[in-house]
Symmetry: C2
Subunit: 402 residues, 2 copies
């Protein structure tokens, strides 16, 4: 078996190429937040369906107000009033004006609205306009928000509150979205006991499966935990097959020792149709990561150290679950103290984020990658790229919130 070490970006790419599209399901709009559109959504009609006032005032013919001023107002006859939610029962003729509330439907004939603040009521049926308005001023035209037939949201959009609002405006009460990806999680390790257990000497509690399950949830997936398996090939093969039958993607974790790493790799490779895509990442922490595909389903063997497992999840697995995420653009922050790294490897450092003189400063937290408390203390991760040997205090570096 050829062992291929890849950069994080290359490994992500290799896995992404093998991702199968998720099946669709229809959900009511009220449950669509955070879901991913399975296809583009088209508007069936203009929104708004009519010209609307955006201010309280008077619907007028703009030309009737040209040249108006406080000294020489334009006097218009008030011949009607627009009621909210109703079509006006008449039209605005030359020299005429209708009272109109914000959101009211512009009567025929009118092409602008004069704000009430720029008028003076001379009598119950006469208004003085003190400033001119241009055509379309204080008016939203029919279809200004959305044109009938337009694609309002593209396929692949993860729906935010404002997208829900737009769909509501267009009368889309149910949407077709991708099913949430089911992600199987398998822990391994003879030394691992459950959260509720009291570890005997030599034993530790399971950190990775609960942390990864939470990370999968946070990425919009559905975690299914298959428990912690003994370090034994046949047991691992069995659970792995079970997980692959139930999940779109399977994460294995634990087994940081050489022997156990081999076990993971052997168990994956032994499955019918398995193809190992890489074995080893040029990243610290996270080197002992395995990527494979088995009959169209991805298997990622994550490192056993909790910090390593979560860092690799964040930059390798999460982008596969949320391919549309645009906010992985790093923050640029000032480095609080100098850091060394090895060229040829991407380095991630846990860090606290503090504000000093209005500038974001990342203060590295040093500590072995087995120490989960160091990641919990961190607001995120500093990244030093492949091609540098370190960064000096005061330099601007990439930072990712966790």
């Amino acid at each position: 078996m050829l062992f291929t070490t890849l950069t994080l970006a290359a490994a992500r790419q290799k896995l992404a190429e093998r991702l199968c599209p998720l099946p669709c399901e229809e959900v009511p709009l009220a449950e669509a937040l955070g879901r991913v559109l399975s296809g583009p959504v088209q508007a069936r009609e203009d929104v708004p369906g009519f010209d609307r006032a955006t201010m309280d005032g008077f619907a007028v013919r703009a030309a009737d107000t040209f040249g108006a001023s406080e000294g020489l107002p334009a006097y218009l006859r008030v011949t009607g009033e627009v009621l909210m939610g109703q079509a006006p029962n008449g039209r605005v003729g030359p020299g005429e004006a209708w009272r109109i509330p914000t959101g009211g439907m512009l009567p025929e004939g009118a092409d602008a609205v004069v704000m009430v603040e720029h008028t003076e009521e001379v009598s119950s049926d006469m208004v003085a306009v003190l400033r001119p308005v241009a055509p379309e001023e204080n008016v939203v035209r029919r279809g200004d928000d959305v044109r009938a037939g337009a694609v309002i949201l593209p396929a692949g959009r993860r729906l935010r509150p404002q997208d829900i609002g737009l769909l509501a405006a267009c009368g889309v009460a149910r949407v077709s979205v991708a099913k949430r990806p089911v992600v199987g999680i398998i822990g391994t390790g003879d030394e691992i006991v459950g959260i509720e257990a009291t570890p005997a000497p030599g034993q530790v509690r399971d950190v990775n499966t609960p942390a990864l399950a939470a990370a999968v949830c946070a990425a919009g997936g559905v975690p299914v935990v298959f428990g912690v398996v003994r370090d034994e090939l046949s047991a691992l093969e069995e659970v792995l097959s079970e997980a692959l039958a139930a999940a779109e993607m399977v994460l294995l974790t634990g087994g940081s020792s050489v022997g156990v790493r081999d076990l993971t790799l052997r168990a994956v490779a032994a499955l019918p149709g398995a193809e190992v895509l890489f074995h080893g990442l040029a990243v610290k922490p996270g080197k002992p990561t395995v990527g494979a595909v088995v009959n169209g389903r991805l298997v990622v063997g994550l490192p056993g150290h909790p910090v390593s497992a979560l860092v690799v999840f964040e930059f390798l697995v999460r982008p596969l679950l949320e391919p549309e995420r645009i906010d992985r653009v790093p923050l640029k922050v000032r480095l609080g103290r100098s850091l060394r790294s090895a060229p040829g490897r991407e380095d991630y450092f846990r860090a606290r984020l503090v504000v000093e003189n209005g500038v974001l400063v990342a203060e590295p937290i040093l500590g072995k990658s087995g120490l989960i408390a160091t990641l919990s203390e961190a607001e995120g991760l500093i990244r030093l790229p492949l091609d540098v040997a370190g960064a000096e205090a005061g330099e601007m570096v990439d930072f990712f919130l966790l």
Copy 2:
């Protein structure tokens, strides 16, 4: 009634001062992601509970390796092997070494681990150490991750995957968290019809209540929609009372016209025990916002224009639901085109975020605040502060992802 216009920050502060603490509930760790700790969590025991190897290799007394080199190795007798998950049944004496896997428990007598890569097996019971190790090298000491009695997470922490991992490591299977705040949402407006309806001329569909419900969900709250109420004082008072009985906070929306704004204010002010905190914000969009407190529960009257309502939600309401959020530190991005604003008012502009030559550039999307499509097109909002009259293309400005 005195009408007080406040800055966004002052209004937020005034509301925050009147927030009542939420009651607690206990949830299993697997459901604790995104929840807020109601009190600090203390560790009951050391984690790990014993000294552990962080590398595969040999547990040794560091002093036995001092001066070792490839030319002149230190020869140690292999007198045992540590098995994963088990306490070693013996000790490492002077001149001795035990095989140990990553994560294995360090035998008594040993104080360091030599990586297997820095050794050579001379025979089955003799190993040559090719490099010296310092005491504690490749070892995590008992309690290095967490000390018994230490506060591992503070009150008010919103739990992330790494926090879940830390709680798991410490055997915290259930956590006490603040209940999710229930937020009542009331729409108003005679022109508003439901999502599924076909609007008649003069009518539009309800955008704000579905969008705000989604925004409340995204902020960890539980939205309860009380429907859309006609523009009528008694109807509004009735629904408002009902909502206040059921929710920690009530959002009213709609009613952008002067008459209807007054209606909202009158309905709120008419409630027994109501105190109006402000009426009007020095922010655009979002000026016609009302803040009040009624018997310890907050009422916020949001503007009726969908963009305005969501902008005010984001910067006034959301921080009340997520007071611990640290990532509202704005991104600093380059402005794509010049913008004007009015001094004495904070201005928010919808914008697309694009990457040009590796730099984030915010391209403003212009459009009236009634147009929800413009907010759906945007990746977020540019902020121009109170005291400026605009910003030039190319300047660095504050940007908030939405």
